[in-house]
Protein backbone atom coordinates (compact mmCIF):
# COMPACT_ATOMS: atom_id res chain seq x y z
CA UNK A 1 0.00 0.00 0.00
CA UNK A 2 1.23 3.50 -0.75
CA UNK A 3 2.28 5.91 1.95
CA UNK A 4 2.95 9.59 2.29
CA UNK A 5 5.77 11.30 4.17
CA UNK A 6 5.62 15.04 4.81
CA UNK A 7 8.85 16.88 5.59
CA UNK A 8 8.17 20.03 7.57
CA UNK A 9 10.81 22.66 8.28
CA UNK A 10 10.08 25.17 11.02
CA UNK A 11 11.72 28.01 12.92
CA UNK A 12 12.62 25.61 15.72
CA UNK A 13 13.27 22.24 14.15
CA UNK A 14 12.06 19.70 11.62
CA UNK A 15 9.11 17.34 11.79
CA UNK A 16 8.31 14.25 9.75
CA UNK A 17 4.67 13.24 9.34
CA UNK A 18 3.74 9.87 7.88
CA UNK A 19 0.49 8.20 6.91
CA UNK A 20 -0.70 5.41 4.69
CA UNK A 21 -2.41 6.15 1.39
CA UNK A 22 -5.71 6.94 3.04
CA UNK A 23 -4.03 9.94 4.66
CA UNK A 24 -6.40 9.68 7.60
CA UNK A 25 -4.05 9.01 10.51
CA UNK A 26 -0.69 10.70 10.80
CA UNK A 27 2.25 9.84 13.00
CA UNK A 28 4.59 12.66 13.90
CA UNK A 29 8.32 12.52 14.53
CA UNK A 30 10.17 15.54 15.88
CA UNK A 31 11.41 17.99 16.57
CA UNK A 32 14.57 16.98 14.77
CA UNK A 33 17.41 19.49 15.21
CA UNK A 34 15.33 21.20 17.91
CA UNK A 35 15.94 24.90 18.32
CA UNK A 36 17.53 25.32 14.87
CA UNK A 37 15.86 26.96 11.91
CA UNK A 38 15.13 24.37 9.25
CA UNK A 39 14.57 26.33 6.09
CA UNK A 40 14.05 23.29 3.90
CA UNK A 41 14.11 19.51 3.70
CA UNK A 42 13.78 17.58 0.49
CA UNK A 43 14.20 13.95 -0.52
CA UNK A 44 15.89 12.52 -3.57
CA UNK A 45 13.36 11.45 -6.21
CA UNK A 46 15.69 8.63 -7.23
CA UNK A 47 16.38 7.38 -3.69
CA UNK A 48 13.44 8.14 -1.40
CA UNK A 49 15.42 7.19 1.70
CA UNK A 50 17.86 10.02 1.10
CA UNK A 51 16.72 13.33 2.57
CA UNK A 52 18.66 16.57 2.77
CA UNK A 53 17.97 19.25 5.38
CA UNK A 54 19.16 22.83 5.69
CA UNK A 55 19.77 23.61 9.37
CA UNK A 56 20.96 27.01 10.57
CA UNK A 57 21.00 29.58 13.32
CA UNK A 58 22.35 33.10 13.47
CA UNK A 59 24.73 31.94 16.20
CA UNK A 60 26.35 28.88 14.67
CA UNK A 61 25.73 29.25 10.97
CA UNK A 62 24.82 26.68 8.37
CA UNK A 63 24.70 22.91 8.72
CA UNK A 64 23.55 20.48 6.03
CA UNK A 65 22.15 17.23 7.35
CA UNK A 66 21.57 14.08 5.34
CA UNK A 67 19.57 11.00 6.12
CA UNK A 68 19.92 7.80 4.10
CA UNK A 69 17.15 5.93 5.89
CA UNK A 70 14.09 8.06 5.38
CA UNK A 71 14.76 10.40 8.29
CA UNK A 72 15.45 7.87 11.05
CA UNK A 73 19.10 8.85 11.42
CA UNK A 74 21.01 11.89 10.24
CA UNK A 75 24.61 12.96 9.74
CA UNK A 76 26.06 16.38 9.07
CA UNK A 77 27.66 16.66 5.64
CA UNK A 78 29.49 19.55 4.01
CA UNK A 79 28.59 23.08 5.04
CA UNK A 80 31.15 25.15 3.18
CA UNK A 81 29.68 27.25 0.37
CA UNK A 82 32.55 29.27 -1.08
CA UNK A 83 31.71 31.81 -3.75
CA UNK A 84 33.95 31.33 -6.73
CA UNK A 85 36.55 34.01 -7.33
CA UNK A 86 36.28 37.46 -5.82
CA UNK A 87 32.59 37.72 -4.90
CA UNK A 88 32.13 41.40 -5.81
CA UNK A 89 29.18 43.48 -4.71
CA UNK A 90 25.44 43.74 -5.13
CA UNK A 91 22.90 46.43 -4.30
CA UNK A 92 21.82 46.87 -0.70
CA UNK A 93 18.42 48.14 0.43
CA UNK A 94 19.63 51.73 0.60
CA UNK A 95 21.26 51.72 -2.82
CA UNK A 96 24.80 51.24 -1.53
CA UNK A 97 26.98 48.38 -2.67
CA UNK A 98 27.53 45.40 -0.42
CA UNK A 99 29.90 42.46 -0.77
CA UNK A 100 28.35 39.09 -1.51
CA UNK A 101 28.26 37.15 1.77
CA UNK A 102 26.92 33.68 2.44
CA UNK A 103 24.17 33.59 5.06
CA UNK A 104 22.20 30.36 4.70
CA UNK A 105 20.77 27.73 2.40
CA UNK A 106 17.14 28.46 1.57
CA UNK A 107 16.37 25.56 -0.71
CA UNK A 108 17.80 22.12 -1.51
CA UNK A 109 16.88 20.48 -4.79
CA UNK A 110 18.05 16.90 -5.26
CA UNK A 111 18.69 15.72 -8.80
CA UNK A 112 15.83 13.88 -10.45
CA UNK A 113 18.19 11.09 -11.53
CA UNK A 114 21.28 10.86 -9.34
CA UNK A 115 20.93 10.66 -5.53
CA UNK A 116 24.47 12.00 -5.07
CA UNK A 117 23.71 15.21 -6.95
CA UNK A 118 21.92 18.02 -5.13
CA UNK A 119 21.60 21.75 -5.75
CA UNK A 120 21.46 24.43 -3.08
CA UNK A 121 19.99 27.90 -3.43
CA UNK A 122 21.59 30.26 -0.95
CA UNK A 123 21.53 33.78 0.46
CA UNK A 124 23.30 35.96 -0.76
CA UNK A 125 21.87 34.65 -3.99
CA UNK A 126 23.91 31.92 -5.65
CA UNK A 127 23.48 28.37 -6.82
CA UNK A 128 25.69 25.53 -5.59
CA UNK A 129 25.93 21.91 -6.69
CA UNK A 130 27.21 18.85 -4.89
CA UNK A 131 28.07 15.63 -6.69
CA UNK A 132 28.88 13.60 -3.57
CA UNK A 133 25.72 13.67 -1.54
CA UNK A 134 26.32 17.07 -0.01
CA UNK A 135 29.89 16.57 1.22
CA UNK A 136 31.39 19.19 -1.09
CA UNK A 137 29.73 22.14 -2.80
CA UNK A 138 30.82 24.05 -5.87
CA UNK A 139 29.23 27.24 -7.06
CA UNK A 140 27.65 27.41 -10.51
CA UNK A 141 29.11 30.85 -10.70
CA UNK A 142 27.86 31.79 -14.14
CA UNK A 143 24.60 32.81 -12.48
CA UNK A 144 25.96 35.23 -9.90
CA UNK A 145 28.54 36.49 -12.36
CA UNK A 146 25.88 37.37 -14.93
CA UNK A 147 26.27 40.93 -16.18
CA UNK A 148 23.27 41.99 -14.12
CA UNK A 149 24.59 40.52 -10.83
CA UNK A 150 25.78 43.84 -9.49
CA UNK A 151 22.23 45.20 -9.88
CA UNK A 152 20.56 42.52 -7.79
CA UNK A 153 19.15 43.57 -4.47
CA UNK A 154 17.54 41.77 -1.53
CA UNK A 155 13.85 41.41 -0.92
CA UNK A 156 12.60 41.93 2.61
CA UNK A 157 13.65 38.41 3.57
CA UNK A 158 17.15 38.71 2.20
CA UNK A 159 18.69 38.20 -1.23
CA UNK A 160 17.88 34.56 -1.55
CA UNK A 161 17.83 32.01 -4.33
CA UNK A 162 14.71 30.16 -3.24
CA UNK A 163 13.38 28.20 -6.21
CA UNK A 164 15.15 25.62 -8.38
CA UNK A 165 13.22 23.85 -11.13
CA UNK A 166 14.87 20.94 -12.93
CA UNK A 167 13.49 19.98 -16.31
CA UNK A 168 12.64 16.26 -16.27
CA UNK A 169 12.86 16.10 -20.06
CA UNK A 170 16.19 17.90 -20.45
CA UNK A 171 18.77 17.60 -17.64
CA UNK A 172 20.68 20.58 -19.03
CA UNK A 173 17.76 22.91 -18.48
CA UNK A 174 17.17 24.65 -15.15
CA UNK A 175 15.14 27.62 -13.98
CA UNK A 176 15.81 29.46 -10.72
CA UNK A 177 14.24 32.42 -8.97
CA UNK A 178 15.84 35.04 -6.76
CA UNK A 179 14.27 37.67 -4.53
CA UNK A 180 14.52 40.33 -5.68
CA UNK A 181 16.31 39.77 -8.96
CA UNK A 182 13.82 37.55 -10.75
CA UNK A 183 13.90 34.43 -12.88
CA UNK A 184 16.99 33.06 -14.63
CA UNK A 185 17.15 30.20 -17.09
CA UNK A 186 20.02 27.94 -18.09
CA UNK A 187 20.03 25.58 -21.05
CA UNK A 188 23.55 24.23 -20.48
CA UNK A 189 23.43 22.67 -17.03
CA UNK A 190 24.01 25.91 -15.17
CA UNK A 191 27.11 27.22 -16.94
CA UNK A 192 25.41 30.25 -18.46
CA UNK A 193 22.17 32.00 -17.55
CA UNK A 194 19.67 34.35 -19.11
CA UNK A 195 17.28 36.63 -17.20
CA UNK A 196 13.76 35.41 -17.91
CA UNK A 197 11.54 38.20 -16.75
CA UNK A 198 9.98 39.56 -19.93
CA UNK A 199 6.38 40.46 -19.26
CA UNK A 200 6.76 40.97 -15.52
CA UNK A 201 5.59 44.32 -14.23
CA UNK A 202 6.65 45.43 -10.76
CA UNK A 203 5.56 48.82 -9.48
CA UNK A 204 8.10 48.80 -6.67
CA UNK A 205 11.15 49.27 -8.89
CA UNK A 206 12.17 52.33 -10.91
CA UNK A 207 11.55 50.62 -14.27
CA UNK A 208 8.54 48.34 -13.72
CA UNK A 209 9.49 46.25 -16.75
CA UNK A 210 13.21 45.99 -16.03
CA UNK A 211 15.26 42.99 -17.11
CA UNK A 212 16.03 42.17 -13.45
CA UNK A 213 14.87 43.42 -10.06
CA UNK A 214 11.53 41.63 -9.75
CA UNK A 215 10.53 40.08 -6.45
CA UNK A 216 9.52 36.64 -7.64
CA UNK A 217 8.19 34.67 -4.69
CA UNK A 218 7.92 31.18 -6.13
CA UNK A 219 7.68 29.13 -9.33
CA UNK A 220 5.93 25.87 -10.15
CA UNK A 221 6.04 23.46 -13.07
CA UNK A 222 4.27 20.25 -13.99
CA UNK A 223 6.81 17.59 -14.97
CA UNK A 224 4.85 16.57 -18.06
CA UNK A 225 4.89 20.09 -19.44
CA UNK A 226 8.12 21.83 -18.45
CA UNK A 227 7.65 24.76 -20.81
CA UNK A 228 4.65 25.91 -18.81
CA UNK A 229 5.73 27.74 -15.66
CA UNK A 230 3.57 29.37 -13.04
CA UNK A 231 4.75 32.21 -10.81
CA UNK A 232 3.56 33.84 -7.64
CA UNK A 233 5.22 37.23 -7.75
CA UNK A 234 5.25 39.82 -4.96
CA UNK A 235 2.08 41.01 -6.63
CA UNK A 236 0.59 39.14 -9.60
CA UNK A 237 0.23 35.48 -10.49
CA UNK A 238 1.94 34.89 -13.81
CA UNK A 239 2.26 32.15 -16.41
CA UNK A 240 4.83 31.37 -19.06
CA UNK A 241 4.25 29.05 -22.00
CA UNK A 242 7.80 29.21 -23.32
CA UNK A 243 9.94 28.07 -20.43
CA UNK A 244 10.16 31.47 -18.82
CA UNK A 245 11.16 33.52 -21.86
CA UNK A 246 7.96 35.53 -21.53
CA UNK A 247 5.21 35.84 -18.96
CA UNK A 248 1.58 36.96 -18.86
CA UNK A 249 -0.65 37.63 -15.91
CA UNK A 250 -3.25 35.06 -14.84
CA UNK A 251 -4.37 36.64 -11.56
CA UNK A 252 -7.94 36.83 -12.87
CA UNK A 253 -10.54 36.87 -10.10
CA UNK A 254 -8.23 36.14 -7.17
CA UNK A 255 -9.25 37.96 -3.97
CA UNK A 256 -5.64 39.15 -3.81
CA UNK A 257 -2.82 38.36 -6.20
CA UNK A 258 -0.22 38.85 -3.49
CA UNK A 259 1.09 35.65 -1.91
CA UNK A 260 4.02 33.32 -1.61
CA UNK A 261 3.54 29.65 -2.61
CA UNK A 262 2.25 28.29 -5.90
CA UNK A 263 1.86 24.61 -6.79
CA UNK A 264 0.55 22.48 -9.66
CA UNK A 265 -1.75 19.48 -9.29
CA UNK A 266 0.23 16.23 -9.76
CA UNK A 267 -2.06 14.85 -12.50
CA UNK A 268 -3.68 17.94 -13.99
CA UNK A 269 -1.12 20.35 -15.48
CA UNK A 270 -3.71 23.11 -15.75
CA UNK A 271 -4.76 22.92 -12.10
CA UNK A 272 -2.85 25.43 -10.00
CA UNK A 273 -2.99 26.42 -6.32
CA UNK A 274 -2.12 29.68 -4.57
CA UNK A 275 -2.82 31.13 -1.13
CA UNK A 276 -3.94 34.76 -1.39
CA UNK A 277 -2.43 37.13 1.15
CA UNK A 278 -3.78 40.62 1.71
CA UNK A 279 -0.79 42.72 0.67
CA UNK A 280 2.91 43.34 1.05
CA UNK A 281 2.07 45.36 4.16
CA UNK A 282 -0.34 42.83 5.63
CA UNK A 283 1.01 39.30 5.42
CA UNK A 284 -2.22 37.53 6.36
CA UNK A 285 -5.28 36.31 4.48
CA UNK A 286 -7.78 38.92 3.29
CA UNK A 287 -10.46 39.47 5.91
CA UNK A 288 -8.88 36.92 8.25
CA UNK A 289 -10.28 34.10 6.08
CA UNK A 290 -7.78 31.45 5.08
CA UNK A 291 -8.42 30.07 1.64
CA UNK A 292 -6.53 28.20 -1.01
CA UNK A 293 -7.44 29.33 -4.50
CA UNK A 294 -7.51 26.74 -7.28
CA UNK A 295 -7.58 27.32 -10.98
CA UNK A 296 -8.49 24.44 -13.27
CA UNK A 297 -7.81 26.54 -16.35
CA UNK A 298 -4.11 27.21 -15.96
CA UNK A 299 -4.83 30.49 -14.22
CA UNK A 300 -7.27 33.29 -14.91
CA UNK A 301 -10.32 31.67 -13.33
CA UNK A 302 -10.00 30.82 -9.66
CA UNK A 303 -12.25 29.18 -7.08
CA UNK A 304 -11.88 29.69 -3.35
CA UNK A 305 -11.39 26.49 -1.34
CA UNK A 306 -12.43 27.07 2.26
CA UNK A 307 -13.93 23.82 3.59
CA UNK A 308 -12.06 23.03 6.78
CA UNK A 309 -10.01 26.22 6.79
CA UNK A 310 -10.61 28.97 9.38
CA UNK A 311 -12.95 31.64 8.04
CA UNK A 312 -12.56 34.18 10.81
CA UNK A 313 -9.76 35.61 12.90
CA UNK A 314 -7.03 33.89 10.91
CA UNK A 315 -3.92 36.02 10.51
CA UNK A 316 -1.21 33.57 9.55
CA UNK A 317 0.96 33.57 6.45
CA UNK A 318 1.97 30.69 4.18
CA UNK A 319 5.58 31.01 3.08
CA UNK A 320 6.93 30.31 -0.39
CA UNK A 321 8.22 26.78 0.20
CA UNK A 322 5.44 25.74 2.57
CA UNK A 323 3.08 24.07 0.08
CA UNK A 324 3.42 20.72 -1.68
CA UNK A 325 1.45 17.99 -3.43
CA UNK A 326 1.66 14.21 -3.27
CA UNK A 327 1.31 11.90 -6.29
CA UNK A 328 -1.73 9.90 -5.20
CA UNK A 329 -5.12 9.92 -6.87
CA UNK A 330 -7.06 11.81 -5.66
CA UNK A 331 -4.20 14.17 -5.06
CA UNK A 332 -3.10 15.32 -1.63
CA UNK A 333 -2.34 19.01 -1.17
CA UNK A 334 -0.49 20.22 1.93
CA UNK A 335 0.58 23.53 3.37
CA UNK A 336 1.99 24.92 6.60
CA UNK A 337 1.46 28.31 8.18
CA UNK A 338 3.45 30.76 10.22
CA UNK A 339 1.00 29.95 13.01
CA UNK A 340 2.28 26.38 13.14
CA UNK A 341 -0.62 24.60 11.48
CA UNK A 342 -0.11 21.95 8.82
CA UNK A 343 -3.23 21.51 6.68
CA UNK A 344 -3.87 18.57 4.39
CA UNK A 345 -6.42 17.86 1.71
CA UNK A 346 -6.84 14.33 0.38
CA UNK A 347 -9.28 15.43 -2.33
CA UNK A 348 -7.31 17.88 -4.45
CA UNK A 349 -8.22 20.79 -2.20
CA UNK A 350 -11.98 20.39 -1.91
CA UNK A 351 -11.73 19.94 1.86
CA UNK A 352 -9.00 20.48 4.41
CA UNK A 353 -8.01 19.06 7.79
CA UNK A 354 -5.31 20.30 10.14
CA UNK A 355 -2.81 17.52 10.80
CA UNK A 356 -1.01 19.64 13.39
CA UNK A 357 -1.96 22.94 14.94
CA UNK A 358 0.84 24.01 17.25
CA UNK A 359 4.21 23.70 15.56
CA UNK A 360 6.69 26.58 15.43
CA UNK A 361 6.24 28.78 12.38
CA UNK A 362 6.39 26.56 9.31
CA UNK A 363 9.07 27.50 6.79
CA UNK A 364 8.75 24.64 4.33
CA UNK A 365 6.63 21.62 3.44
CA UNK A 366 7.68 18.86 1.06
CA UNK A 367 5.89 15.60 0.39
CA UNK A 368 7.09 12.15 -0.64
CA UNK A 369 4.77 9.55 -2.08
CA UNK A 370 6.16 6.15 -1.15
CA UNK A 371 5.35 2.86 -2.80
Amino acid sequence: MSAVRILVGTRKGAFILTADGTRDDWSVTGPLFGGWEIYHLKASPSDPGRIFASQSTGWFGQIIQRSDDGGLTWAAVGNQFPYEGIPGTHQWYDGTLRPWEFTRVWHLEPSLLDPDVVFAGVEDAALFRSEDGGQNWKELSGLRQHDTGGQWQPGAGGMCLHTILLDPQDPARMVVAISAAGVFRSDDGGKTWQPSNHGLHSEGIPDPGAEVGHCVHHLAMHPSRPDVLYMQKHWDVMRSDDGGRSWHEVSGNLPSDFGFPIEVHPHEPDTVYVVPITSDAEHFPPGGKLRVCRSRTGGGEWEELTDGLPQEHCYVNVLRDAMAVDALDPAGIYFGTTGGQVYASADSGDSWTPILRDLPAVLSVEVQTLA
Binding site: Q62, I63, Q80
Partner: protein
Protein backbone atom coordinates in the same frame (compact mmCIF):
# COMPACT_ATOMS: atom_id res chain seq x y z
CA UNK B 1 44.25 17.63 28.43
CA UNK B 2 42.48 20.86 27.54
CA UNK B 3 38.85 21.01 28.52
CA UNK B 4 36.21 22.70 26.36
CA UNK B 5 32.61 23.41 27.28
CA UNK B 6 30.34 23.68 24.26
CA UNK B 7 26.92 25.33 24.12
CA UNK B 8 23.94 23.00 24.06
CA UNK B 9 23.30 23.28 20.32
CA UNK B 10 26.86 22.29 19.50
CA UNK B 11 26.92 19.44 22.01
CA UNK B 12 23.85 18.05 20.27
CA UNK B 13 25.42 18.54 16.87
CA UNK B 14 28.63 16.79 17.94
CA UNK B 15 26.76 14.04 19.82
CA UNK B 16 28.61 14.74 23.07
CA UNK B 17 27.46 15.24 26.61
CA UNK B 18 29.30 17.36 29.14
CA UNK B 19 32.78 18.67 28.54
CA UNK B 20 35.13 17.71 25.75
CA UNK B 21 38.74 16.87 26.62
CA UNK B 22 41.31 17.48 23.91
CA UNK B 23 44.97 16.65 23.57
CA UNK B 24 46.03 19.83 21.83
CA UNK B 25 49.76 19.22 21.68
CA UNK B 26 52.13 22.18 21.45
CA UNK B 27 51.10 25.69 22.42
CA UNK B 28 47.55 25.97 23.69
CA UNK B 29 45.84 28.85 21.89
CA UNK B 30 42.32 29.50 20.66
CA UNK B 31 43.44 28.39 17.23
CA UNK B 32 45.09 25.15 18.32
CA UNK B 33 42.20 24.24 20.60
CA UNK B 34 39.66 24.85 17.83
CA UNK B 35 41.83 22.97 15.34
CA UNK B 36 41.85 19.96 17.68
CA UNK B 37 38.14 20.32 18.37
CA UNK B 38 37.24 20.42 14.68
CA UNK B 39 39.55 17.53 13.90
CA UNK B 40 37.77 15.37 16.48
CA UNK B 41 34.32 16.66 15.61
CA UNK B 42 34.29 17.72 11.94
CA UNK B 43 30.59 18.55 12.10
CA UNK B 44 31.55 21.59 14.17
CA UNK B 45 33.50 23.15 11.31
CA UNK B 46 31.99 26.52 10.50
CA UNK B 47 29.87 26.72 13.63
CA UNK B 48 32.37 28.52 15.89
CA UNK B 49 34.57 30.20 13.31
CA UNK B 50 34.47 30.73 9.58
CA UNK B 51 35.99 27.81 7.73
CA UNK B 52 37.93 29.95 5.29
CA UNK B 53 38.96 33.01 7.29
CA UNK B 54 39.03 31.33 10.72
CA UNK B 55 37.31 34.43 12.11
CA UNK B 56 35.17 33.84 15.19
CA UNK B 57 31.46 33.98 14.38
CA UNK B 58 29.88 37.18 15.62
CA UNK B 59 27.56 35.65 18.20
CA UNK B 60 30.12 33.27 19.69
CA UNK B 61 32.28 34.12 22.70
CA UNK B 62 35.17 32.43 24.49
CA UNK B 63 35.30 32.60 28.27
CA UNK B 64 37.81 31.21 30.76
CA UNK B 65 37.38 31.72 34.46
CA UNK B 66 35.89 35.16 34.67
CA UNK B 67 37.69 36.50 31.62
CA UNK B 68 36.24 37.10 28.16
CA UNK B 69 38.96 36.01 25.75
CA UNK B 70 36.89 36.61 22.64
CA UNK B 71 38.91 39.55 21.44
CA UNK B 72 42.29 38.05 22.19
CA UNK B 73 44.46 37.01 19.27
CA UNK B 74 43.64 33.46 18.19
CA UNK B 75 47.36 32.77 18.45
CA UNK B 76 47.80 34.18 21.97
CA UNK B 77 48.55 31.54 24.61
CA UNK B 78 45.48 30.70 26.64
CA UNK B 79 45.75 31.17 30.42
CA UNK B 80 47.83 28.49 32.18
CA UNK B 81 44.70 27.30 33.99
CA UNK B 82 43.10 26.49 30.63
CA UNK B 83 46.25 25.05 29.10
CA UNK B 84 46.71 22.74 32.07
CA UNK B 85 43.09 21.69 32.15
CA UNK B 86 42.35 23.16 35.58
CA UNK B 87 39.74 25.39 33.95
CA UNK B 88 37.76 24.79 30.77
CA UNK B 89 37.61 27.05 27.77
CA UNK B 90 33.92 27.87 27.56
CA UNK B 91 32.39 28.46 24.13
CA UNK B 92 29.28 30.56 24.55
CA UNK B 93 26.47 31.47 22.21
CA UNK B 94 25.65 35.12 22.89
CA UNK B 95 22.48 35.61 24.88
CA UNK B 96 19.80 36.87 22.53
CA UNK B 97 16.71 35.91 20.69
CA UNK B 98 13.61 33.96 21.57
Amino acid sequence: MTRVVLPAHLRTLAHVQGEVALDVGGPVTQRTVLDALEQRYPMLKGTIRDQATKQRRGFVRFFAGEADLSHESPDAPLPPEVASGRQPLVVVGAMAGG
